[in-house]
Amino acid sequence: MSLITVVIPTHRGASRIGPTLASLAAQTLPAQDFEVVIVLDGHDPPTHKAITAMQLPFVTVIVEREHAGAAQARNRGVAAAGAPLVLFLDDDMTATPDLLAAHLRMHQRYPGGVVIGCFSQSRSSHRVALLADGADIWWADHFAELARPEHRFTFRDFCTGNVSLPRARFLDCGGFSTQFKGAAGEDYELGIRLLRRGVPFRFAIDAVSVHRYAASLPRLLDRARAEGRGHVIMARLHPEVFPVLPLRDAADDGPVLKGDRVLRLTPRRLKLLPLLLHGLLPLARALKLRRLLQKLQGSLRVCAYWEGACQEAGSWADLQAFVQDLPLVAAAHREIEFDLASGMAVLAQTLGATAVDAVRLRFGRHAVGRIAPLAGAEPLRVEHVRHALAQRLALRFLMAREADT
């Protein structure tokens, strides 16, 4: 019996799936210890043929009759999985040889949680490419942040690119929501539910895959549009995460473009501005004005995001009405007051026993500071408090201790 099932959804992925499967065939984990379930999202003979041609014994193929989106496909894949752990991988991800073994090691050390792997972007050439460079930097920063011991995991750390969890936990939560058709963010949404159920997140820095993704502006804008739609759906399902979504701006002055000056995006500007920016793109490309190009692309992304959000809500007015009632500030479900004089061991015990998302710290009668709640984040661990005491609250902590003795 296998230990882990790799679930890969694919939609017209005949050209992409080959290298992915080849990398899985070259794992350090023995082939009898894992299986791969590929879900063809919609009737797709060329991809099916490409897979069977590789003659890999550990691969199962499921065919969905109609294109129903990646969420549905992943749910089907997990339903068919035979192993106690599932790993979600994309069809354009190359696994490094140690990927599966690294995930397994982490699950053996900390059973019952989510293990988040990391990936880098593969580059076909070393020429400067603005979009790809931007994405590289963003992901590198993201994973560096996850690797910090005091990182407080939030729902936004749960991305389906390279993540594994016990199959039972996935099924308990009801799997991916299928409401996100044509929208992005079903992974974040599952992340919210997993965290709420108290499933811990871990980051495995040695579980590495390589993303063979060719960034292009149209794809980026499609993605931004899908994110806009997805965030509206997410705010509908889980209003408590609204404070940390970019959508929050809609409750204030409305969406803005931030540059040297702030430009408010009224509905009319939102229609006209992309046309103007698209018009300027060729010029910026021809003259190799890199900073301008970067700004244009960034602005187009913001416009696309809000376009998607308006589409999902109905109209700009509907969107504005919708966000009026949502919370703007993260609320604490459970906030405790703790006297640091009783020692960190007691705090570790308290935080281990109950899920706490904000702490008021004092030393004797002297206030030290507060660790604020974070929307859609895991409960506080003692590492978070220790880090805050060592950094942000260090001076207050010392002063309070001095004053108390």
Partner: protein
């Protein structure tokens, strides 16, 4: 721009005001034994990690002139001196604001008061969510099919069982001692109406911040109890009733509402008048000889509109509905028309114009667009007056 809103009790010994980290401005309500004493406005470095009691005490002395130790030493109100606590009906009128309503009703479930009931009037909501939320709280739910806040208020009056009816907005949240404050105002039998203190529940956006600037302190009428005794009132006070109170937090005795024919259904939001239902009822109560008191102990927290377009609409409505209110006074002739005309020409319009000019010169903290909205609302009030009564006649004929 973002302002933290909190409160601190002088009589207890919490070492700090928690949760203000990351904010540049603070608005802190100071309470003594649960009674509001005043608000402190502080600015701080947002990187500051904790606001200590000593900081608050210093501000208390410099801004309000109280020595904290002196105020805290006052004895808590003894049960004997507290006024009688008559049963009160709380009426909340709402339309399609399920999440705000949930917050509002949760605050009403936690009131510290021996005998009260809550009636939620659903004024033609489009979804069934309102009914579901009310069902979950166990409060009474009634539905008013004619659109208009004053229709809903009258419906609430009919459904209410007790003799004091307190009206609360669905975007407001009541302080636990709210009804005790109202009861304090109603202690004398001849008092017919009580209005209360309204503080902002949230100041997170530019629009909310500007709204606080707009009315000097938003909807707050200060921390000193006041009374309006009709026999001693100059005629001008009868038309400047916006100084008496706001509809978000007002209460009346049933006998006075029934005597003057309750609320004027042609007025307030949901009708072409876009407001003025509260001004009208306060005016008519005073006109009928009922005393009205303003009681700062009756505290509610109101959430202002968050978006700029919403604020612009609100100010437009203010101008428009105040005009409708004045036209109604002009028509019914209880206040001399000379007084009304003089008020409009010498006070109201010059006040609007002066602000517009100041804003145009950049000398006013409100952007000119907002003041223009109020002025244009005022110029539309002729049409609104005609339209709203025509609309009301049509609604009444339909029955």
């Amino acid at each position: 721009m973002k302002t933290f809103i909190g409160s601190y009790e002088l009589a207890d010994s919490a070492p700090a005001l928690w949760g203000a980290e990351g904010y540049e401005r603070l608005l802190v309500l100071v309470k003594v034994h649960g009674r509001p004493l005043g608000v402190l406005r502080l600015t701080q470095n947002p990187a500051r990690v904790v606001v200590e009691r000593a900081d608050l005490n210093r501000a208390l002395l410099s801004q309000l002139g109280y020595l904290p130790s002196g105020v805290a030493a006052t004895a808590p109100p003894s049960p004997e001196e507290s006024p009688p606590l008559p049963p009160i009906s709380v009426v909340v009128c709402t339309r399609d604001r399920p999440r705000s309503l949930r917050v509002c009703l949760a605050s009403l479930a936690q009131l510290d008061y021996p005998d009260y009931e809550v009636v939620v009037v659903d004024n033609v909501s489009r979804t069934a969510e309102t009914a579901e939320i009310v069902a979950r709280t166990g409060f009474r739910y009634v539905r008013e099919e004619r659109p208009g806040l004053d229709w809903a208020r009258n419906c609430g009056l009919r459904a209410a069982r007790h003799d004091i009816i307190a009206y609360l907005d669905d975007d407001a949240r009541a302080d636990p001692l709210w009804l005790r404050g109202l009861a304090h105002g109603f202690a004398a039998r001849h008092v017919m109406g009580v209005t209360g203190l309204i503080l902002p529940a949230e100041l997170e956006t530019r629009a909310q911040h500007l709204f606080e600037i707009y009315g000097k302190d938003g909807m707050s009428k200060g921390f000193r109890a006041r009374r309006w005794t009709p026999s001693r009132l100059p005629p001008l006070s009868l038309i400047q009733v916006h100084k008496v109170g706001v509809g978000a937090n007002m209460a009346f005795r049933r006998q006075i509402l029934e005597a003057i024919g309750a609320f004027d259904t042609a007025l307030d939001v949901g009708t072409p008048s876009c407001g003025a239902g509260d001004l009208d009822i306060l005016h008519r109560v005073l006109l009928a000889g009922g005393e009205i008191r303003y009681e700062p102990q009756a505290l509610v927290w109101h959430r202002h509109r968050r978006d700029m377009s919403g604020l612009r609409r609100q100010l437009y409505n203010n101008g428009r509905s105040y005009g409708v209110f004045l036209l109604k006074r002009w028509r019914d002739g209880h206040v001399s028309r000379w007084q009304i005309a003089r008020f409009v020409v010498r006070t109201w319009i010059p006040w609007l114009l002066a602000r517009l000019v100041l804003a145009g010169l950049g000398k006013h903290r409100l952007p000119p667009g907002l003041i223009w909205a109020e002025l244009s609302g005022a110029t539309h009030s002729w049409w609104a007056y005609i339209a709203t009564y025509r609309h009301d006649r049509r609604l009444r004929q339909r029955e």
